[in-house]
Amino acid sequence: MSAEAISPSTLQPRDVLRVGLVGLRTRRLRAVLSVLGVALGIASMVAVLGISASSRNDLLAALDKLGTNLLVVKPGQSFAGAGTVTLPDTANAMVGHAKDVTAASTLEDLGDLTVRRNDHVDKAVTNALTVGAARSTLATTVGATLRDGAFLSPATSRYPAVVLGATAADRLGIDRVGSGVQVWIGDRWYTVVGILNPVTLAPELDSYALVGLAYAENELGADDSPSYMYVRADPGNVDQVSSILGPTANPEHPEEVDVSRPSDALEARAKTKTAFTSLFLGLGAVALFVGGVGIANVMVISVLERRSEIGLRRALGATRRHIAVQFLTESVLLGAMGGAAGALIGVLVTAGYDANRGWALTMPAYAVAGALACAVVIGALAGAYPALRGARVSPTTALRAA
């Protein structure tokens, strides 16, 4: 018996892909349906990551425009622990002349006053709004813009005129300024001369009704002991300015002064994941898992249905390994298709949402790459068991069964 060595059967790598596609090509609808779950999961994850990245970018861009050199000075806790602490009336002048301070302004709470739509509304109804006395430099110092009208000027500061924060205007139902537009503060009418847009760096202003300091001192008993001080520092020396603000604003009790930099907090908030993001990422992960189970299910059915094909391929020279590789490839291709479709949908959703919000489209590359990798891994995991089952099918029973 002459027996030259037999070369084992071989499947070219390029043919592995071809063979893996056969099942998908001939069962297209099923392939599309089985891929839906993974596509949805990937789409929601990509969209969530894209949208949160876009929103973060937008906030950071806005911060850049507003400047990160704004410092807020607030009276802190007194060691005595009793009573409301305020800053002394010298604070604005002292801070305004300090080195590297480019602008300073103040806001003083007028605690016992409430702002109301008219005099029929009960005095106790505050709408969670506060009346405050503002310097006319306040708007430019914090970078506030006006939705309508103008901010308090040195002239209007002397009269019963009021500027409403964005929230305050909404709660009072006022959307424009004009000669007849008035609100009731204390015991008389004030003309609304301006409405602010939401103030990013000083959001507390949104729920204020601001009257001029001069008028407040004359008529309302204000004494220029600020509740808030807003300070713009030279951008290169913000830290130095921050460290001297306590002693400068309140030389007698520097320890009773709180200095904060709101842009820091905003930046930190922009960078942390919100509960919303985590929730949707979680939902995406669940959809992805279910999608993986869907693929596994379809692959198991496919192996059962294609027993005669398995038998035939074994007769044509396929090894068990070739059969396993074929079904594994098919499953990975399903996962990859789902991943690609999902990533595309996710990018489109992000683009649509961003366009709607007026944000610049920001899609982190890691989100798309990670999603695709995730989908491929899920395809591989889902296909592993069906592939092993396919490989274990005995060719003779597979051929007899048909």
């Binding site: 018996m1 059967s9 499947l11 090509r25 094909e309 007769a315 020279g317 396929a318 060719p395």
Partner: protein, 224 residues
């Protein structure tokens, strides 16, 4: 004349005590055209699977084209099937969504031949079985006779030493079945060893040698 198939004392039993083959000695020489004939349950399908190396015997030795199969691993047995043995089945087993040409080219898939060569040889094989005009038709668009021709083309595309045909006419009418037998004859005339498994005496009698199987044993072996 060297032997293409050589079985010595082949037994095959299954769990549960069923003995499908009970000691078969059989030699098929190169260039033969033989029929294995027997009623259902006689063990002829098991014999086909053992000759086709899809199944190993419980006892005895099997040599195909000089290779003793007990010495070969899964990969080498698969290599033997890919290059040395061609199968033709009663149910054709064509991939329904693929064209005739693709189905035939699949016969070379596991030999590692490059795609363009597989297609070229598949076209030649289809022309050889008289289906040169049906290359692009899908399997589900072909008649039964045409399907079996495609299956035969797939079996011979790798120029195997041995073609095993399992009830090749079983799903066909008499006339078409006759054509298929004619095709196998022509194939044999060109030098291929052909072994036909059938329960149909009439089909078996048209071939050169009839090996009758009954209850797992060779009952008679008649060469014309």
């Amino acid at each position: 004349m060297s032997a293409v198939v050589e079985l010595l004392g082949v037994r095959r039993s299954y769990p549960g005590g069923v003995e499908a083959l009970r000691g078969v000695d059989l030699t098929i020489g190169a260039g033969e055209l033989a029929a294995i004939v027997g009623p259902s349950g006689s063990g002829k399908s098991t014999l086909l699977h053992i000759v086709g190396t899809l199944e190993r015997p419980s006892e005895g030795t099997v040599a195909i084209a000089g290779h003793e199969t007990s010495r070969l691993g899964d990969g080498q047995l698969a290599g033997l099937r890919a290059r040395t043995i061609g199968f033709v089945f009663q149910q054709f087993f064509l991939l329904p969504g693929s064209t005739a040409l693709e189905n035939v080219a699949n016969g070379l898939l596991y030999t590692g031949a490059p795609a363009h060569e597989r297609v070229r040889r598949a076209r030649e094989a289809l022309e050889q079985v008289g289906l040169g005009h049906r290359l692009g038709h899908r399997a589900n668009q072909l008649s039964g006779g045409e399907c079996q021709r495609v299956a035969i083309a797939r079996a011979i595309v790798g120029r195997p030493a041995l073609v095993l045909a399992d009830e090749p006419t079983g799903n066909l009418d008499t006339r078409t079945g006759g054509e298929i037998v004619g095709l196998l004859r022509a194939l044999n005339a060109a030098g291929t060893t052909v072994l036909v498994i059938t329960h149909d005496r009439a089909v078996a009698d048209t071939l050169n040698r009839q090996i009758s199987i009954r209850d797992g044993l060779v009952e008679s072996d008649v060469a014309a």
